[in-house]
């Protein structure tokens, strides 16, 4: 209910602003909606959203898997940490644009280049978060696992992984928002489809209703995924904490 109210407030503000500023710079909601419907009818909306989502999914999975593994290793093994730390600092502070442009130059305007570039942008934050998680592992529970001679796999699943879970969730949360932002830049610069590409086209043609239609449908998809996928997942992970309270 409160969410609906907040949404209505957003539409109202938009409408009033468009009346004040004028249609050419900020088209009113119905104008954008009609473009949105036209794009949906032609199927272009779904093709572009689908392409973007596929890139997000691939880059996100790649960065999370690799970042978690590297972060865990760096948190557990001090040699790995000393070897990896300078690279980590470099990657953390490297602008997304540099990575994307270089990837396109070296690997061509390809899907592989786009996804790699997005993943590289997200990777260091996952590494940093998981490294903290691995450092915070409770040595008392490690000892328990050793004393009871738990096999590695079982110890990892029941002792280590639940302790890392909040860190994985945090990395996923911040990583996903980062990927949402960067994927459009990568598409804008070098892909022939996707929301970023369409926004680029709209920018060049100064087609503001088209620009807003894609931006808003993209924001809608993000919201749906956050509420239906990310938040329930987080709740499930911390189930035991809630009951303990």
């Amino acid at each position: 209910m409160l969410r609906l109210l907040s949404f209505a407030l957003f539409i109202a503000t938009w409408w009033i602003a468009s009346l004040l500023i004028g249609d050419t710079k900020l088209p009113a909601p119905p104008a954008v909606l009609s473009v949105l419907i036209a794009e949906a009818r032609s199927g272009a909306l779904f093709v572009n959203l689908g392409a973007t989502l596929a890139r997000v999914a691939l880059a996100f999975t790649l960065a999370m898997a690799l970042g978690s593994a590297i972060g865990y290793l760096m948190g557990r093994v001090s040699l790995a940490n000393r070897l990896g730390d300078p690279w980590l600092i470099l990657l953390l502070n490297l602008p997304a644009l540099v990575v994307i442009v270089l990837a396109y130059i070296w690997a061509g305007l390809t899907e592989v280049a786009a996804i790699t570039a997005i993943a590289i942008n997200k990777l260091p934050t996952a590494v940093v978060t998981l490294r903290e998680g691995a450092r915070a592992l409770d040595p008392a529970l490690d000892e328990m696992a050793t004393a009871f001679a738990l096999p590695r796999g079982r110890a990892f699943r029941h002792v280590v992984l639940p302790q890392l879970a909040p860190y994985i969730a945090a990395a996923a949360r911040s990583g996903l928002s980062l990927v949402w932002k960067i994927v459009l830049v990568a598409e804008y610069l070098g892909r022939p489809n996707g929301v970023g590409f369409e926004i680029g086209v709209a920018f060049q043609l100064f087609d503001i209703p088209l620009l807003l239609a894609y931006s808003l449908s993209f924001a809608g998809v993000v919201l749906v995924i956050e509420t239906l996928l990310v938040q329930p997942f987080e709740t499930r992970l911390t189930r035991w904490r809630l009951r303990a309270a």
């Binding site: 008392a140 529970l141 000892e143 328990m144 050793t146 004393a147 009871f148 001679a149 738990l150 079982r154 029941h158 002792v159 639940p162 879970a165 035991w240 904490r241 009951r243 303990a244 309270a245």
Partner: protein
């Protein structure tokens, strides 16, 4: 099954780089079916000794001979349960082969049956200790280590838990090593009592109690305690 302990020294370096001797000379043998009690002042190195015996610390001088394939069950001073797993899961993760009947019987003795599906965060310290105990017994250990299992419980609760431990220890032929600084617990549960000196710990005196635990009556326990309290441990 037998455990031969022959530690000649253990020290560690403090953060300031100074060397601290924790253990001096600790030599004893423990046989199957026996309950050994390590008795000594707080901070004398009992927990360090237990960690060495449990194989958690390999950095010491001396030698420990364990029978091959020995299964270790350990109850740490803090329960060390997995907070994200239920009571039953905590036990089953350590002891995946335990059958339902054994587990139910174990929970029955320890009065944990109603708590099977609770998370450790929902339990009191006394209950959490009993879960840790259930976990150690469920793996059917050959060597059981109990690190102050009755500490910081009120008298009535400690007494009940002591009886439960006695029941469980009697139900299985294994070596048990108990750490306590309560003489009453030591005399009621132990077969052989090892009196440790203050840091660096060495064994000052070994007291063997001949009467089996089951027939040890109150007068005998009082008599043993009286004799032990007359020992001049400070000048040994």
């Amino acid at each position: 099954m037998q455990l031969e302990v022959n530690i000649t020294g253990k020290s560690f370096a403090s953060a300031a780089g100074k060397r601290h001797d924790v253990l001096d000379n600790v030599t004893f043998t423990l046989n199957a079916g026996e309950v050994g009690v390590l008795f000594g002042p707080s901070g004398c190195g009992k927990s360090t000794l237990l960690r060495i015996l449990a194989g958690l610390d390999a950095n010491y001088q001396g030698h420990i001979a364990r029978s091959p394939g020995m299964r270790l069950g350990m109850v740490f001073q803090e329960p060390r349960l997995l907070p994200w797993r239920t009571v039953e899961e905590n036990v089953r993760i350590a002891a995946p082969h335990v059958d339902d009947g054994t587990l139910s019987a174990l929970f029955e003795v320890l009065e944990l049956s109603v708590h099977r599906n609770h998370f450790p965060g929902e339990l009191s310290l006394g209950l959490a200790r009993r879960v840790a105990l259930a976990r150690a017994f469920a793996i059917e250990p050959d060597f059981l280590i109990l690190d102050e299992p009755l500490a910081s419980l009120d008298n009535a609760l400690a007494g009940r838990l002591r009886d439960q431990i006695a029941t469980l220890v009697a139900s299985r032929e294994m070596m048990t090593l108990l750490v306590t600084h309560d003489l009453d617990d030591a005399v009621r549960l132990g077969d052989r009592l090892f009196f440790l000196s203050p840091r660096p710990a060495r064994i000052l005196h070994v007291e063997t109690i001949a009467a089996p635990r089951a027939v040890r009556g109150e007068p005998e326990i009082d008599e043993i305690k009286r004799q032990l309290s007359q020992l001049d441990l400070a000048n040994m």
